[in-house]
């Protein structure tokens, strides 16, 4: 961990009660959802983590808190990469949006909503992004089954064709 990173990490630890994990020289901060927006602002303004690379999530079902929302930040001058994790419970999964700090987070957060069903409070445009607007369920959750297509043979071709979803007349 570089000196600048050490400084940022200890400051954030003190102010927001973040927990630090280091794995394969990647530093991860675990912080509660209440502090995420303030912490991002602090990291951006005081510690030059100006570039938000990515927002994604992981589903740890059946563990509780079930989800982790993961942010990757980058400091251009110091070339430091920082990972931030926010644990989210399975009951009304919700995290405050960081799009006011990093406008680029908007689409990434839409993707996390689409794929995991985690709501981002205060997001200006929280619609599905890659799945159709009327899709039910959130595909990347661990309890969402992996779909498959039934194989059609001559004897049951029409039967299966009738079950397949298609646009209505």
């Amino acid at each position: 961990m570089s000196e600048a990173m050490q400084k940022a990490v200890s400051a954030v630890q003190e102010r927001f009660g973040a927990v630090v994990q280091v794995f394969k020289d990647e530093t991860t901060l675990v912080v509660s959802a209440d502090h995420i927006e303030d912490m991002m602002k602090t990291l951006r303004d005081e510690f030059a983590f100006t570039f938000l690379i990515d927002v994604t999530a992981v589903d740890y079902m059946p563990a509780e808190p079930r989800f982790n929302v993961i942010y990757h930040l980058y400091a251009m001058e110091k070339k430091d990469l920082l990972c931030v994790r926010v644990p989210v419970s399975s009951v009304r999964p919700q995290v405050p949006t960081v799009e006011k700090v990093f406008p680029g987070a908007a689409w990434f957060e839409r993707e996390v909503w689409d794929m995991f069903g985690i709501r981002f409070e205060g997001h200006h445009d929280l619609r599905r992004i890659v799945m159709p607007a009327d899709w039910e369920g959130h595909p990347l959750r661990k309890d969402y089954p992996l779909g498959y297509e039934e194989v059609q043979f001559t004897f049951n071709f029409d039967e299966i064709a009738g079950r397949k979803p298609s646009p209505k007349e």
Binding site: F51, D54, H72, L81, F102, A133, D134
Partner: protein, 409 residues
Amino acid sequence: MADFREVTVEELRHLVSDRAMSGETMLLNMGPQHPSTHGVLRLLLELDGEIVVNCIPDIGFLHTGVEKTIESKTYAQSEVMTDRLDYLHPLGNNLVYCLAVEKLADLDVPARAQAVRVILAELTRLSSHLIWIGTSSLDLAAMSTFLYAMREREMIMDIMEMCSGSRMMTTYIRPGGLWRDTPVEFESAVRKFIDLMPKRIDEYETLLTRNPLFLDRTRGIGVISKEECIQWGISGPVIRGSGLAYDLRKARPYSGYEQYDFDVPTQTSGDIYGRYLVRVEEMRQSVRIIRQALDKLPFGPVRSSNRKYVPPPRSEIGTSMEALIHHFKLWTEGYPVPKGSVYTAVESPRGEMGVFMESDGGPKPFRCHYRSPSFANLQIMPLLTRGHFVADVVGIIGSIDIVLGDADR
């Protein structure tokens, strides 16, 4: 049978101006079936006459659920799907995936494999930029560049086929090295190509760089500042065209890029023309990197000797019991990767392509997320197009060089 619901304009009300609701401005769909949107991108344009007031990109028509499918396959099987994401840069997709697995598993990669990876990654970058220079100038009505660019791309495709047996979906880079060593003709074929390429790049430039029609369509259009790029998480030639030399090959080198001497071209104009100049210069730099890598291409193995992850050579299986067991385990169960999560990134022709991979200690990835540059770069479409003509939207899409397979995953 599922009911299909239509999305009404009411749902997009917060994104368009009030004038659209009263009918003063017009809402127009561009795409998804439109040749200049480079795939299946749908843009909802709000138009005042011919001026774009607002632009709402709609993606997801090429969503294939690769991230979900990866979770149900072993590490070796999943890699095959990564080719299909950014289909103009398949080797880079493999490379970033392998870097993530190698980082999780502490797998070593022999020097020769690293150098071949660099050569092939740069060749893929060239082929992607050739497609870009062809199609984006085709959008601006310069037909001949496209034909020339495809001619050179064919040579790269032949080299890919020579190495991996496949033109595009190669899966040639594997965790721990390469699938197999390069064939004997590889070096001479690549040399022939890089000797030819600089002249050909000059040829493209004579067609475009000082062409007044091209200049009219590209200068001062789709301007974005350096600060905005950072805010919106833009990377690749777009951010370099705005004046920031952010290139992962220099910023966080991987696969031995630190050994090679090359420049990161930048332009300060931030418009379509700036991004054009950056990409053309990048092609020259790629040739330079390939030449250096080829000159000091070391001999030796191309696969790690760690048998827990890398299958043994065929010759060993007949003589060694151990090798037979390893081979059987690797191809049936797959290899377990230590628990943890990592983020690795490579510089794709479009920007920062990253993989966030989490392992739970089993033989299948617990979560594999692709941070794709096209997805992030598409977000700035409203900023770039506002106040320009509809015809310029076409040029702007071409200049940020999106691949929808990459954006939708």
